[in-house]
């Protein structure tokens, strides 16, 4: 929960601050004046229609291609279902962001399989790595595929539809007892990247592990994430997207909206709701309601982002 209560935006803002959601089904989010609001549970067709005006992009996360345990013996199959869902959207998003854990064990065949399915969207995909994509011995498979044109371990920025997007890597050089880690080199680059940008430029930061502290007991946070958030503090609209925790979670702090996407592979428990953050086994009928994709819609000249989570099955 946020400890930030010094805002002057009135009751609705405070209500949002009090409420961190772990929704199990699709929820349509709109953002007014930087404050996201849940409209209700919707199906994917309605979500796509609602998202039609303005620039929209899609977030997909935690595909874990190669995972074959009882929580979901066919992670590649559910990724394919997510891709079919994307291809069926009536309004095609401008591009896609993948917030890491594309693979389960960083194996070449896993990267190949993920690529084969994800490329069926025919969308540009901007990746950041999860810790599962960085476990081959020389940590080269991810970088060979997705690292071109990136800095350091794979961080970069780009502009689209008037929004400045920044992909960060917080899964490298993790310290014993610690959380996710950005590191001094990346933070210096980030500060430099933002220097001179107009404060009215909407900024979207995306990384695998949450940049905010969700639940440190399970390592769900980034040690030096606060430093990155300092650099974007003055901007009017900041959206922080991540994966890693396999469930929808949202928080608003000042002008910063934090949002976590579902996995397309398997659900994980709510913080502290189980002995560990390991894959959550649910009945087959329920699994697809706990997996999915998110689309984010930005309306030109309005400080407004609508985030729509779509489960594979309502």
């Amino acid at each position: 929960m946020s400890g930030d209560n010094h805002g002057d935006d009135g009751v609705s803002r405070r209500k949002v601050l009090e409420c961190m959601t772990w929704a199990g089904t699709g929820v349509l989010w709109t953002a007014t004046g930087g404050v996201p609001r849940s409209i209700g549970i919707i199906d994917s067709a309605e979500a796509a229609t609602a998202a039609a005006p303005g620039m929209s992009f899609l977030q997909i996360s935690d595909s874990h291609v190669g995972f074959d345990k009882p929580a979901n013996p066919n992670a590649l199959g559910t990724l394919e279902e997510a891709v079919n869902k994307i291809n069926a959207m009536p309004a095609k998003p401008s591009f896609m962001i993948h917030t890491g854990d594309i693979t389960h064990l960083s194996k070449a065949a896993e990267f190949d399989n993920a690529e084969r399915i994800i490329s069926q969207t025919k969308l540009d995909v901007h990746y950041v790595p999860g810790e599962h994509d960085f476990i081959d011995e020389e940590v080269k498979l991810y970088r060979e595929r997705y690292g071109r044109g990136t800095k350091g371990h794979g961080w970069y920025s780009f502009d689209a539809g008037g929004v400045h997007f920044i992909g960060l890597v917080n899964v490298v050089d993790l310290k014993a007892g610690g959380l996710g880690n950005l590191g001094a080199e990346q933070l210096a680059w980030l500060e430099d990247d933002l220097r001179g940008k107009s404060k009215s430029t909407p900024v979207v930061l995306f990384a695998h592990i949450p940049l905010w502290t969700v639940y440190p007991q399970w390592g769900w946070g980034t040690e030096d994430g606060g430093r990155a958030l300092e650099y974007v503090k003055g901007f009017g609209s900041v959206t922080v997207l991540n994966g890693h925790i396999h469930q929808v979670m949202q928080k608003v702090e000042g002008n910063v909206t934090f949002h976590t996407a579902r996995s397309t592979a398997f659900p994980q428990p709510a913080p502290g709701a189980a002995p560990s953050p390991g894959p959550m086994k649910v009945e087959d009928a329920r699994l697809r309601s706990m997996l999915g994709v998110a689309s984010i819609n930005f309306k030109q000249n309005e400080q407004r982002l609508a985030i729509i989570d779509t489960p594979l099955q309502g």
Partner: protein
């Protein structure tokens, strides 16, 4: 927790005789110890062992883990049911962690 090492059953008669003569080595092997990973936790989290002991880690989670002690040893990524063994030949405190989930930490004290 003490376990019988599978290698103990692999001797032919000649090797068994040699093993009987090399009693101290056999005894050390009988002290070999196991650490399990269950629910993102090393169990036991701390072990006290004697020099020459081999510790074997087994990952019993559905998620891969590693065992890393900075500058001392580093396992490959252990998938479900994979094992990693290390023989401690020097006394000292060996702090270790999972490089994928750094909140997972453990300690081997070697006397």
């Amino acid at each position: 927790m003490k376990t019988l090492n599978r290698r103990d059953f692999g001797f032919d008669l000649g090797l068994a005789l040699a093993a009987a003569i090399l009693l101290p080595a056999t005894k050390a092997r009988a002290d070999d110890l196991d650490v399990h990973i269950d629910n993102f936790v090393f169990q036991p989290a701390e072990l006290k062992i004697k020099v020459g002991t081999t510790v074997t880690w087994t990952n019993r989670d559905d998620i891969p883990h590693t065992i890393v002690s900075a500058g001392k040893f580093r396992s490959k990524t252990l998938d479900t049911d994979d094992k990693f063994s290390f023989t401690f030949t020097n006394a000292g405190d060996y702090k270790y962690f999972c490089s994928l989930h750094p909140h997972m930490t453990g300690m081997i004290k070697v006397e």
